[in-house]
Amino acid sequence: MANMEVDMDGMQGILSEVSNTYKPYMEKIFDSDPTVVLAGLKEIRNFIIGNNRQKSNFIVLGVISRTVYMMSVADTDMIIKCQCAVILGSLALGSEENIKSLLHYNVLENLILGLQDQESDQFFYETCLRCFRSIASSKSIAAQATTVEKLPTIMNRILKCVDLSASTQECTCEIITACCKTPEHQEMFAKFGSVSIVCTLVMSPKRRVKLRAAQALTALCYKNPRISSVLVTATYGNVTLISVLSSMMSRCDEPEIQLNAACCITNMYRSGVMDESHEKLVFYKTAPCLVRMCEPGRTCKQRILGAKTVAYLIESEPRLQRLVYICEHFPHKLDVFLRLPQFEEAKTPESLRKFKEEVAHHDELVTSAFLAYAALLSNEEDLRKNVASDPLVKRLVEALDSKLEEVRTAAIQCLLSLSRSIQVLRTFFQNQEVWKSVLQLAFRDSVSDRETAALCALIANLLLEFSPSRSQLLDGHVLKKILDWCKNPSSINIRRNALYALANVTFRSNSPDRDETDTKLFGIDVLGMIGGETLQNLAMSDDEVTKVRTLDVMTNLLSLENIEDLMGKHGALVIQLLITILARSTNHLPQSGGNESQQQQAESPQVLCAVLRILRNIIEADLVKTVRDFVIQNRQILVKIVDLCKSENTELLNEAINCLCCLVTIEDEHESNLSRIELLRSIGVFRVFENFKTSSIIYMPEKLKDALEYF
């Protein structure tokens, strides 16, 4: 208690010292004489500009409320209003605490009133706009959210006054860049007509305007084909926007301009609206430009943005991956990202500044390098073989232990790309015991959905049959975790990837070549562990991928060896699921008039193939013929299967015929097959067999021939 009193006294001592020192300046701005007020405002302005501590001092003394009041009073001299706006603008360039204080006093409302004031002069409008922009661009999420909420009331006015000066042009673009975070924001800005205005600003001869306009366009067209297609065709006079952005990437322009032009082109390209005529621009200008931005001589922010944009550009395009790989020794540039900055090298003020910058941005540099590697190595085996190394994998494993989710997730994505190589799985991954760190991460609490989804996918690859880590992970009880992930209620990606992992786990569990670990799995009732309700939800999911993967798992589990045992426990559920899915498929006959577009299949061929495959396995393994008889007695299902024999999908057609063959050829030992055969004939099975007996698209002609003999 005594200590607290001392601390309180100390705090009050500081406050009273601040108050005593700066109170005279504050008193001036409460004076009735406007000249004194103006002088006081200018002195306060000179104190707070460039000094966050002074900003906080004067906020404590009440400068915000006083300046906001003066701005809001109509009689206040414009010159005083201008200085009030300048002070608020300076506070907005301070710390996050300063921004919070501004929001607390509803400064945004007053700024909007200031912007809307038709009587104000240009300097006042510019100052209010700059303050608005500073709040929107701050790191405070609350500030961004509040600004976005208020934008629609003022956007028209901002766009109308955009050409007042270079300052208003810059600020307008910065506001758009800061507030354009979601597709809804993009549509809002597009609705106001921002896109065409920003396009003209890109053509500005003024460097700062050009740069900010390019940044705004990049934000507007990110993952937005509609806006991107507008930009691709945008022309002003005789000049296309694309040609302007292309010229901005030339080396004689400064790096910041080159980088932002390249980012804009990247976003347009990835939106899928560019055709082959733009290939040269993307492949031979944009990609090399982004690679150049990753050079050690660039600032950390440029390198981070460059690497992340390269990753986005190439992530689903093997040709671009190969091109970037050989472009200016790109992997070597990424290696430098991972290097820890050395204090010993910081001998001069400039190198000390660089050291400080690298330390501050080290985690971001590492994240962006991992993302770039992940994209670069996602498709091509020879690139993986050339780039993978013990030091790189070791670095990735260390990053799995990082406190930052971004770093861990990027490392997982990079490991996922590398894990697509058998050679890498068997060498570097084993050398560095990747499985250990992955297992630790899997059992960690409070991991985000995004990270978990990536981790699931990685584990799925590590569980492939040829992966040495498979037995190590299974011995580490990863199966339990995978089953939990299958039930994840919030993320479809986690469920999908977990099912893929489960399919890989169960793939060998019933194989005659299974090893010791797989033998252990053989005895585990995985279907029981998944649970009936979960299995039903997954198999009946609206998501195609989830459904297919669930059926893959069931196919693996319901193999010939222990199928009786499983059907004994879960037969009713399995049959019900299969029948329900089959029943949802529609008629494949063309409608009268031959309008094929009216054919709509509720279930995809992939799903139906899986269902028929499982059904066939069950029928073949069912010694007492219960399932076979159940299907035969269910006319609706029989008709569906016969219907599927008319499918244009060869695989589906074959599975359907194969299934029917089973129903025909699996005989009862002591009973007559006649009634069964006649029933199948009446459904149309004989006709189907006759139609296809000489067809070349049938995979098992011998089996079909045998089945026909029963008729």
Binding site: K42, I49, L93
Partner: protein, 231 residues
């Protein structure tokens, strides 16, 4: 084959003898209009408005101040070169209120110069209070500034700081350095380059001579720019 041959072992190539070089230089004709434009560009970018106006009268080259707010910039330059940094900061805040908030290092350098002026005037107590109030925050955020701050504060130790090892800080070129830094940021805010074309030409000249020296080429090197002293 010796791949890593010493540079000194490489043969010297001779381009042209000195007298022929100078003869060719003299035969080159550069239009006086272009020369005058270069001079006008220099005067305008460096903020010498009165000189530019006078030059316009003499040469006939039109003085078109593409640079905005040239008058105010001239006032700021005069304040800095005159050692009145407080006034300069006030003028900068009037003209571009965001400039020093967005360029904290520039503000630090201006305030450091203000500290130097206080030391020059012998106002030691005021200098110490000023440093405590204004320079601690930036130097905490930017430790690379500490060496410069230490140099300036070291002046306080000496009875005659102008004779100390750091006496150069008290000389006029130091003020020019500060003005040059301020001018660069000014021009950047006005979407202009601060570097006059003449300065670029000198840079290209120095670079070219460096490249020729690296290639061991013998040529009449311009040693002292102002005196046209060819070696």
């Amino acid at each position: 084959m010796d791949i890593d041959a010493d540079e000194e072992d490489q043969p010297t190539q001779s381009l042209c003898p000195t007298d022929k070089w100078i003869e060719q230089l003299n035969n080159m004709h550069i239009d006086s209009f272009i020369m005058n434009q270069l001079i006008m560009d220099y005067l305008v970018r460096e903020g010498y408005k009165e000189a530019a106006e006078k030059f316009e009268e003499e040469s006939g080259v039109r003085f078109s101040p593409v640079i905005e707010k040239l008058d105010e910039k001239t006032q700021i330059r005069d304040a800095i070169l005159g050692g009145n940094i407080k006034s300069a900061i006030n003028l900068i805040n009037e003209l571009y209120p965001e400039m020093l908030d967005q360029n904290r290092l520039l503000l630090f350098n201006l305030q450091l110069q203000q500290l130097i002026e206080l030391i020059r005037q012998g106002k030691i107590q005021e200098a110490i209070s000023f440093a405590q109030m204004n320079l601690t925050e930036i130097s905490e955020e930017h430790p690379e500034c500490l060496p410069n701050l230490e140099r300036v504060l070291s002046l306080l130790v000496f009875d005659t700081p102008e004779k100390s090892p750091f006496g150069d800080l008290l000389k006029t070129p130091q003020r020019h350095k500060i003005w040059s830094a301020v001018n660069t940021v000014f021009m950047e805010m006005q979407n202009e380059t601060s570097c006059p074309k003449l300065a670029n030409i000198v840079r290209i000249l120095n670079w070219s001579q460096e490249q020729l020296d690296k290639g061991n080429v013998s040529y009449p090197k311009l040693k002292v720019l102002g005196k046209l002293d060819f070696s």
